[in-house]
Symmetry: C2
Subunit: 370 residues, 2 copies
Amino acid sequence: MSFAPLQNDTFLRACLRQATEHTPVWLMRQAGRYLPEYCATRAKAGSFMGLATNVQYATEVTLQPLDRYKLDAAILFSDILTVPDAMGLGLSFALGEGPKFATAVRDEAAVAKLEVPDMNKLRYVFDAVTSIRKALNGRVPLIGFSGSPWTLACYMVEGAGSDDYRLVKTMLYQRPDLMHRMLAVNADAVAAYLNAQIEAGAQAVMIFDSWGGVLADGAFQSFSMAYTERVLRQLKREHEGVKIPRIVFTKGGGLWLQEMASLDCEVLGLDWTVNLGKARAMVGGAVGGPGKALQGNIDPNVLFASAPQIETEVARVLDSFGRPHTDTSTTGPTHIFNLGHGISQFTPPEHVAALVDAVHAHSKRQRQGV
Amino acid sequence: MSFAPLQNDTFLRACLRQATEHTPVWLMRQAGRYLPEYCATRAKAGSFMGLATNVQYATEVTLQPLDRYKLDAAILFSDILTVPDAMGLGLSFALGEGPKFATAVRDEAAVAKLEVPDMNKLRYVFDAVTSIRKALNGRVPLIGFSGSPWTLACYMVEGAGSDDYRLVKTMLYQRPDLMHRMLAVNADAVAAYLNAQIEAGAQAVMIFDSWGGVLADGAFQSFSMAYTERVLRQLKREHEGVKIPRIVFTKGGGLWLQEMASLDCEVLGLDWTVNLGKARAMVGGAVGGPGKALQGNIDPNVLFASAPQIETEVARVLDSFGRPHTDTSTTGPTHIFNLGHGISQFTPPEHVAALVDAVHAHSKRQRQGV
């Protein structure tokens, strides 16, 4: 496929630890309910899945935040749970509630039946990727994504969100053999899914390990990180001669950052509990040396404060990372600004503009050493 | 007041980093709904607050787990939110739901009205402490407790539990002046409350910072840790010539462990995401040197596995801490075994016996160098 040339590659360069003129910024769940135009499209679509499975609607809502804000990347409008849906578990979203599966996977027989789904069942996602990429027309890069094998397993076993993860952890501690089998299937499915997104036009991919942080030390490494690595090992490094950066975001995973430095990916996403300066020292690498680009990590609740307060907090987060490297001849520590979690549906849209503009303005000042 | 002499002081010695013959164990929420006898008493009491405010019932349920298991400490049956209830906010628990306040504290006027409550309104707690201490008759020490200033503020502003802490964080980012005032009042109230528990007979006190971990790096230090420290500064170090150890547990606070080493307390509680070996190296101190005792941190969901699996996981947690020091002539690294969070109401009671017995057996083997 051939698409229009990229006009703003700041995000992709920062992912590859190349120097940029400003710190690129995008926001998890930037196409979401805080935007009235999103709610209007969703109303037309009738349901969340109606929105996600309709190529035209998915394209429309993906581009909405870009029309309002000077964001440096677009992210596919979809859900982290499309893969288990394609496995036949029946994903739905009741209004105002989180995801639900019609069928939960709770015993040996259910686990035995699991297999990597036919990727044609996810054709709507790949078609959306291509459609969005065309509609972007080179404005900014497009990020594809999936839930991590462990995060998918949480929902597959619990059947919905949970506050204690009792059922999935019971399986983990009681029947680790079943859990490992489920995670292996999930990992291979996620890898096929992300590779197909790359072929369809995704210019970077992100693995959301939204529930990695609920695991105990030890269990995280065996049941989450090992399978994220299994996905990463299978992913395309480049497509049509262009590198495809891979981002891993483990919510609540700050304690395992040193271990995650060994993951075969370019970028690590961080939530707001992590000190970016310490994270940079730990895994950001030196100029000319290897390391991970870091993505994150402002608390989305900062967006409920006033514009000047938002600017102060943005500066605090940027300064916590410190001045990114500016040597255009080599790689070095870089930062991609983001929230530490998805944006709240109650966010005043004009506050997002204050945040995005503050990131650009302050990060330019940082580079000028002001 | 005079109480029977203590027959098992293992827990208190471990809190003070003194050598013990085995690793003491108690469980957060050990008097709780997983025990049929607890449910029976609660049914008689009519409600959670009916149970907590009745000295006889509170005594009864506090002792119930000690009759089943060889626990090394008792913890007052109460709630972390009694202090804001005494401030007039009206605490209640609907069946099967979390705590709720009739009045939430959301604006300047409401914050201005807050003050340290008359401790006589909490007399039922102090009476329960004395009654339990008498009923224990020296079997094991009694732990008193409170929510931390920040954790109280979360519930006071939200009015109930939350999954995004939007309201309390909005106040924090938008009106830090109000938040600081509320936290100062909370800290002074919690200090007075815990000191009164100590005078009534509590032999150790614990501050539950259940929601410290939802804060961003930076905000945690200013809005949670600083006010926990304000409580600690005001607490009695000893009562009637006996040292009163102070435990601070910040759920999700593992990333700030190094900073928490400076807190003026004897014990730091850890959740299951923390590697106990790393925590010991960081804050556990050397033999003869200063340091913190560590409490924690098995995932309560381990209790849903089989007895042999529970034994394996218990050994893993104990071995992760490593052999505690055994020099009876001085202080050194010690471990108090606990869950990383409260026990689930769905826990099979007989599995708790397997856990407690495994802690005693394996930790004795550790000391013998087996």
